[in-house]
Each structure stands twice: as structure tokens, then as C-alpha cells.
Symmetry: C2
Subunit: 334 residues, 2 copies
């Protein structure tokens, strides 16, 4: 008997990266159609057409419960794909939406999911132009799975490898709310609202105001995974200031109770970005004017030292390494 898939392989951290490197990257021969290919393991890849970089991305959503405070699998899936395009510097053009439903699901419930998906599509003005529908028979699937794909046109291609020493790091709002929301649902520990939402308006505000050097939406594995990835790919050190990282009271409370680090809890409506130091104040000001960016903060900076590593200056004056999480603390948060 060989090695088996565990849920940690799908949790967005170190284990997932290892699995993808030793399976997908090993088996696939053709992995590139533009500047960014599969090997880069970014939020999407690019297709070059007439010298333009078209960004192409996909994600499968398997979140349980599929309705949660602040959203459902429908709004989550459209937001997620919009965000993957946005953080690569692309203006989204169209979305494809493929649904697998379990037999016996109420059609009205499916409609509610579609309605929430539509609200996000309308908010950002991006059409859903094609899709697929499959049904899995009773016992084969425990709820809906939605896979969205998106195509966008890069205004300026933003790569995870673009951060430079001196850049400031901005996060667009309080972290960990989606992860905390799903955790609280699963453990029956009260209501925390998910932050699931498109970050397109925040990204547009930032990119039109200053130079954004790297950008990610910190989903599975949270801010810790996103910044470790940027630090590694950009070959910079990252220094975070714990006191400036926005965390809501409910999220902090849940983390204290469960002994969890909020830095590894997923966001689904936040973006973390590197910004040239001289542009930082203006970018922060513009982001704060935008819906979803009101609580943006500068949380740290890129440095020459400790390349590839994220270091946190704690609130009590100490320093600790923030490692790449092996995965997210719970499965199927997205």
C-alpha cells in the first residue's frame, strides 16, 4: 500500500505544495502559455495573445457548511475567482461556473446559492458566461461543489516574486474572519461573519495610486502562508509588527479559546500587498476610501535580512519566526 491522500494535502500549506511538486509538476509536460506558467504556482497563470497577458485561474469550492454567516459557497466561489485575477493585476473579463450537486438537494437551496453568486458578479460587473451541471447520486457527495474559472486581462502583471527590500506591506482589513467563521460553525461556537467578498475595488484603488510590487489574497493558510510565499519567491525577508495587524475581537477571542494563531486563519475578502515605500501613505489612504478597505493597515515591511523568512515583532517586544503553516487548521474552509 502506497502513500495516501490526507485532508492536509488540500489545506494550502507546505504539504500541499510538496504533493503538487511531486505529482502535478512531475507528470505534466506542457505547463506554460505565457509569462506565468504552472511551475510558478501563483494564483493563476497567463496566456500570451498579441503581446498581451491574459490571466487564467480556477478554484474548486468544497466548503462545509456550504451556507455560513456572511455568505455561502456561491458568493465565495465568485469572489475567490475575482480575487485570484485581481491579485495578479488583471481586470476580470468573464467567469465560468461548474456545479456538482448532490441528488436530493432542494432546488430552492441551489437557487439561493446562484443568487449570492449573482450578487458578486453584479457588484464587480463581471459576467458568468458558461458553465456545467452534474449531479452525484445519493451517498456520493455530501453537498454542492462549485468550480469557478476566470479570465482577465493584465493591466500590469503582479507577481509574488516582485517584492523588494524597503517595500511596505499593507493588508486591506482584519484577518482570519473566514477561517474563524467556518471554525465557529463547525464547533458550534457562536456566529462570526465571514469576510468573503471581492477585493477588486481595493486592488484597483491601490494599483491606480502607487506601485504595487507583489500581491496575494491570504486564503488557505492565512496571512502566514501568503507572506511566506511572497518572501520565498521575492527572496526578501518580511518583518511584521504584531500590534498593527488588524484582528477583530471575535476572531481574537476564538483564537485564544482554541489556542490558534490568527495568522494562519484564512481570509476570503482581504488582500495583502507590497507597495513602494514612497507610495505607501497615498495607497493606504485610497484603499481606506473603498468598500472592504476601510480598516486597511500597514503591517510591516520587506527587508534585506533573513531572506525567505517572515519575522514577527510581538506586542511584548520580542521577535518570532512565522513559519509556513503545514496546512490550514481545518479542512474544507473553501
Amino acid at each position: 500500500m502506497g502513500e495516501k491522500i490526507t485532508w492536509s494535502h488540500g489545506a494550502g500549506g507546505k504539504l500541499m505544495g510538496e504533493l503538487i511538486r511531486k505529482t502535478v509538476l512531475k507528470e505534466f509536460s506542457l505547463r506554460k502559455a505565457g509569462q506565468v506558467g504552472l511551475d510558478e504556482l501563483e494564483d493563476g497563470a497567463t496566456i500570451e495573445i498579441d503581446g498581451k497577458q491574459l490571466v487564467f485561474t480556477t478554484d474548486s469550492y468544497t466548503v462545509r457548511p456550504h451556507f455560513f454567516p456572511g455568505g455561502n459557497i456561491g458568493s465565495l466561489s465568485i469572489s475567490g475567482t475575482i480575487n485570484d485575477l485581481a491579485v495578479m493585476g488583471a481586470e476580470p473579463l468573464a467567469i465560468a461556473c461548474s456545479v456538482v450537486l448532490p441528488e436530493g438537494m432542494e432546488i430552492e437551496e441551489f437557487q439561493q446559492i446562484l443568487r449570492s453568486a449573482n450578487e458578486v458578479s453584479k457588484e464587480v460587473g463581471v459576467p458568468i458566461i458558461t458553465g456545467d451541471l452534474k449531479v452525484a447520486e445519493r451517498g456520493g457527495l455530501d453537498g454542492p461543489i462549485i468550480t469557478t474559472a476566470g479570465v482577465g486581462l493584465a493591466r500590469k502583471l503582479i507577481r509574488n516574486s516582485g517584492m523588494r527590500p524597503g517595500d511596505k506591506i499593507i493588508v486591506s482589513g482584519p484577518i482570519g474572519e473566514h477561517g474563524a467563521c467556518i471554525l465557529a460553525c463547525r464547533h458550534g461556537m457562536g456566529t462570526i461573519f465571514s469576510d468573503a467578498a471581492p477585493v477588486l475595488a481595493v486592488v484597483r484603488a491601490a494599483m491606480s495610486t502607487g506601485e504595487v510590487t507583489a500581491m496575494k489574497d491570504p486564503t488557505r493558510g492565512g496571512l502566514a502562508a501568503a507572506l511566506n510565499e511572497i518572501a520565498e519567491k521575492s527572496k526578501v525577508g518580511i518583518e511584521l509588527d504584531e500590534t498593527s495587524i488588524p484582528i477583530s475581537q471575535p476572531v481574537r477571542g476564538l483564537c485564544d479559546l482554541l489556542g490558534l494563531d490568527p495568522l494562519i486563519l484564512a481570509c476570503e475578502g482581504r488582500v495583502v500587498m507590497g507597495v513602494k515605500e514612497e507610495d505607501c501613505d497615498r495607497v493606504l489612504k485610497e484603499i481606506r476610501k473603498v468598500r472592504g478597505g476601510e480598516q486597511a493597515e500597514v503591517i510591516g515591511r520587506a527587508v534585506e535580512e533573513h531572506k525567505g523568512m517572515v519575522v514577527l515583532r510581538t506586542s511584548v517586544g520580542g521577535r518570532r519566526i512565522v513559519p509556513m503553516p503545514s496546512g490550514d487548521p481545518i479542512p474544507r474552509i473553501c
Copy 2:
């Protein structure tokens, strides 16, 4: 309690069309980014960029068993997306591949699936540039689900509405082999090989030789569903000649045994097309030179009469209507 999802809703026939019209098309506000949008319910849709039509398509694959004679869910998913691009007249540029795996699956089994996917990608020369990986915990999912999306550039956009009276209808090879393969697997009725394969070479041969007016890969619901859709959208009648429709002996045998009509069994490596009458002989000749097209046949023609309907001239000289199937005879064939 409201109406519930049944597996027939995912079977590609009349019931699925009705569900999509009363849910997806009703709830989604923005449905178009180019000449072909969601409302057309074609194999994909288009995004207009600088006057060019980029074709965008997606499908989720849930086939059970996920390994079957002649292929597996990996080769099937890549072929299916290549075929959806090809039948719209597009040259595929890139594929995205999103995987949901069940916890406990052997990693070696996942690699076999990737290897088969890679073989198709290499055969057609289309890279797989981005993707996603999720894991569903034990009991949540009965096997892998793969969702592929594809982007291609339309050389000449082919629509299901383009067939005109007088056009000849060509099918690229024996029908129903994928559906029969899965049926035989499920019922333990011997080995029938699936036809799952890309039809890109056949489509290229046809389009470069003559005028192709409409084209579909007859998947769920088989030739009957594909031709009813074309007849309805093109507002033509279709006349089929039963004796000229290629059907292999094993498929015919299985259909006789189970009392099934081979016209409603899915293909996953065939294409059916309308061709201008004067180009038909040359197109047929060129298709037959291509791998997967050796057994192509002219199986009928489009007529002015009985608009929107498919009529079969039977081998014994009678005529019968071939209705739009309500769905495929079994769930999860793709």
C-alpha cells in the same frame, strides 16, 4: 418541501435544460462577454478581445468508475475540454485543471490520472497552466472530481445555430462507445472500450477542407441530444439514415440486450457536424485520413421540413422521430 435535484437533472437532456433555464439563466444578471453568452447554452461562450472571439469553456467530471476501459477521469477531462473548444471552431490555447480528491485515495492512483491527462495534453499540444487541489474528508466524496476549463481562439466561430437545409451531416466515428463502456462496467457486462479522445485533429481536417456550418461532440444524451439541439437552434429538420450510422458490434449487442437506443448513448471522442453539400465528399475524405476519423460516415442531411425535429429513416424503410432524450440512461458517465 420544495422540488429536489434528481440525477436526471445532470444527465444532459431535456430535464437539465429546463433546470438550467429556470435557475441559472433566471438568477444570473450578466451573462455575456462576446458573441456567444450563457443564454445560448453552447459548449462554451466567447470573450471579445480586440475584435477576436476567445472561446471559454468548463466541465466537471464525476464519472464512476473513474478508471474504465480505454481511459480514466484524467484523459476524459482533458479530452472533453479540448473537444468543447474544438467544436466551437477554436484553436485551444491553455487548460486549467481543478481537482477534488477523497481523503484516503492512493497518491499513486492520482498520479496515474495525471499521467493520462498529460498524454492528451501532449497529443494535442495544449498546456495545462493552472489548477487547484482540494481534499474532501472520508465519507464526503466517493472518488475524484476533476473540473477542467479551457481557453481557445476562434479561427471561425461555429455555432449550433448555423446548419442550413441541404447541408450534409457527418459523424466522425462509431457512436455510443463511452456510454456503453460505462454501462458495461457498472453492470459487469464485459469490456467495451470508451472512445474518449480529443477530436481536435478531425475538426482541424474538416475546417481546413470545407465549410462546416454546425458542430457538436455528442456527449450526455448522445447523438440524439446533439442533433436535436442543432435542429432546434438552426431551425432546420434533420433526416438521418439509420443504415449509415456507424455503431460497433459490442455497442449494438449491449443495446439489444438492455433494450437501449444507441442514439442516446454518450460519445466522448466523436464529433457530429453539418457540412455544405458541395464540400461533403472532400471533408469526409480528409477526416478519414486523421486518427479517430477513419470510420467517419455521412449519416444524413438537413432539410426544410419538420423544423426542429430529427427523423430517422429506419433500416426497414420506415420513419420515426428521434426525440430529445429526457436524459442519459445512467448517471455520472462523464
